[in-house]
């Protein structure tokens, strides 16, 4: 019934465009900033073993599940998770559970665009030589002045706003052009540039000469190979540490962009003849190549060369942004070749981060756009620019209250904890409620190869078990202290409550939209 009642939907223009767009969705800032930080923070080589195991047991199965859920909904005219879950599970609750796949991408999109705007800003600063000649303190002040509006010592008040507005404009201009003329075209241009910049930087970093440095009173000489050795020297005993396993599984989650709702939205534009099995593997493997081969060979070897292994560990403790926006520009300033080389390296580094960011952020806009277009009959441009206006207004709150923890709340509840919940919910609906045999059949529709049989019990039992353990662990370890605001300075508490209030308002508004959409469908006689 719904199959024939749905209006015609766009389709991907080509298979390579689809894979690049899917890979662009997955390859994001996390590949080049979060991954090296997590790897260093969790013992380098120690981290890589559970990382690869989690990739095989959680990453690839979830990738297939999300492609399957997306296409199943898409061929029934549903481009977002409320409709997809409703199609898979004929229960009134299903569509409301699908709100997670609308809520998370919208929330993450807004603050992600803000962080993406930093990469655009630093590309400009590198091009104009504004970070050249700065030492560690100078680079840190340069960064702090940008992210903290109250610290106007270097950047004007309007500068972060200007770059954020530009980032929002570019993002929504792309999505307003549609699937093939906007998103697919961006992926076809952006992904090769990203890979080119990354390869050039990796070659430069790995051919650096050893450098003698003093850290905490100890003088050492080290080169890029020491960074790689740190990354790839396994410590088998650390495999008994649950912390390392959870960090690795969490990284797989973030890097593949699963549990977000955006992969399902992209997959909804597939047809029954598209090969989910092979396309899912191609996407996951492209992302892993960008992360392991390129992301792992950039920041860590570079920072180890100029700061030593102990220094790199200290940088990692400072967070991903310190690594990307303070340490890496310092590395570029130390490269042989002077200001020209430093500027070029900076443009390539922040340029690749910008392309990694934008190819992900446009995907996050897709579920909400699809939902409004399909359920309320809005045109693409109108929907895109309305969402842009909302993102712009709410993004201002992030700029103003960034140092007061406004962004951290969104990042934790929607960008971290929420991902596991959606992944668990969709796995249960697709594999258990829809049925393992139906799910297996759906995944193989149009496939030129079969998924190895041992993956069926993995998808049915191991992946949900992994997700459940992760959710329980994160609840105990992080969610409860974060909810109770343990250790939060008293002056930030009102800001964090306001941040939660805005999130709850968005969630309630989206639930109301789902209810309205289904009421409209019922009134017009369409199968809800």
């Amino acid at each position: 019934m719904a199959d024939t009642a749905s209006p015609p939907r766009e389709q991907w223009g080509s298979r390579i465009g689809l894979i690049l767009a899917m890979a662009g969705n997955a390859v994001g800032l996390g590949n080049f900033l979060r991954f090296p930080r997590q790897a260093v923070d969790n013992g380098g080589g120690t981290f890589m073993i559970p990382y690869f195991i989690a990739f095989l047991l959680v990453g690839i199965p979830l990738m297939w599940i999300e492609w399957g859920v997306g296409r199943y909904g898409g061929v029934r005219g549903q481009g977002s998770t409320p409709g997809m879950f409703d199609a898979l599970w004929k229960n009134p609750v299903a569509k409301y559970l699908g709100v997670l796949g609308l809520f998370m991408p919208v929330i993450v999109l807004i603050y992600y665009c803000y962080i993406e705007s930093w990469t655009l800003a630093w590309t400009f600063f590198s091009l104009t030589g504004q970070t050249q000649g700065l030492d560690q303190t100078g680079m840190s002040s340069f960064f702090q002045s940008y992210v903290d509006l109250e610290n106007g010592s270097i950047h004007g008040f309007w500068v972060p706003f200007g770059f954020f507005f530009a980032t929002i404009a570019v993002n929504f201009w792309v999505v307003s052009k549609g699937l093939t003329a906007g998103i697919e075209k961006l992926a076809k241009i952006g992904m090769p540039i990203l890979f080119f910049f990354a390869v050039v930087l990796v070659i430069r970093v790995l051919t650096l000469d050893p450098v003698t440095t003093t850290h905490l009173g100890v003088t050492t000489t080290q080169g890029p190979m020491d960074g790689l050795r740190f990354m790839y020297t396994p410590d088998w005993s650390a495999l008994a540490s649950p912390k390392v396993w959870l960090a690795a599984t969490g990284q797989i989650f973030f890097t593949l962009s699963v549990g977000m709702g955006s992969l399902q939205a992209y997959a909804s534009y597939l047809t029954k003849k598209d090969d989910l099995v092979l396309s899912g593997i191609a996407t996951a493997a492209t992302n892993e190549t960008a992360e392991v081969v390129l992301g792992g060979s950039l920041a860590i070897p570079a920072v180890v060369t100029f700061f030593g292994v102990a220094g790199a560990v200290a940088v990692a403790k400072g967070g991903s942004f310190d690594l990307g926006f303070i340490s890496m520009p310092l590395v570029f300033n130390s490269l042989p070749g002077g200001p020209l080389v430093a500027g070029a390296a900076g443009v390539m580094w922040f340029g690749l981060l910008f392309f990694a960011g934008i190819t992900s952020s446009v995907s996050m806009a897709t579920p909400a756009l699809a939902f409004v277009e399909e359920n309320f009959g809005w045109k693409r441009k109108r929907t895109a620019w309305t969402l842009a206006a909302i993102a712009l207004l709410l993004g201002i709150l992030h700029i103003v209250y960034n140092t007061r923890g406004f962004l951290d709340e969104w990042d934790y509840w929607a960008g971290t904890f929420g991902l596991v919940i959606l992944a668990l919910v969709e796995t249960i609906i697709f594999v258990w409620i829809f049925g393992p045999d139906n799910a297996w059949k759906e995944l193989h529709e149009g496939a030129s190869m079969r998924i190895p049989a041992f993956y069926k019990p993995i998808i049915t039992y191991v992946t949900p078990a992994f997700l459940l353990i992760m959710m329980i662990w994160w609840t105990v370890q992080d969610a409860i202290p974060t909810l109770m605001m343990t250790g939060v300075p008293a002056e930030n508490v009102p800001v964090k409550w306001a941040s939660r209030g805005v999130m709850v308002a968005i969630l309630l508004f989206q639930l109301w939209m789902i209810r309205t959409a289904w009421a409209r469908k019922a009134a017009s006689g369409r199968d809800a």
Binding site: P7, P8, R9, G45, R76, M225, Y232, D235, T289, V292
Partner: protein, 57 residues
């Protein structure tokens, strides 16, 4: 951390056999998987797309 101690005992700017083997395995696995998947995808003819659902009266 053990890994830090291991790194510190080796001569500067050398990868070491264990690390090299581990890295080579990791790189070959992800690069190989990517190249294999793309080769297989691109070698399969891209059939004419089905008309979108609902477009045929």
């Amino acid at each position: 951390m053990d890994t830090l101690a291991t790194v510190a005992t080796l001569p500067p700017n050398t990868l070491g056999l264990n690390a090299f083997l581990f890295m080579a395995t990791a790189w070959i696995c992800v690069l190989g998987l990517m190249l294999w998947a793309f080769r297989k995808l691109l070698s399969t003819p891209e059939d004419e797309k089905l008309p979108p659902p609902g477009s045929i009266p």
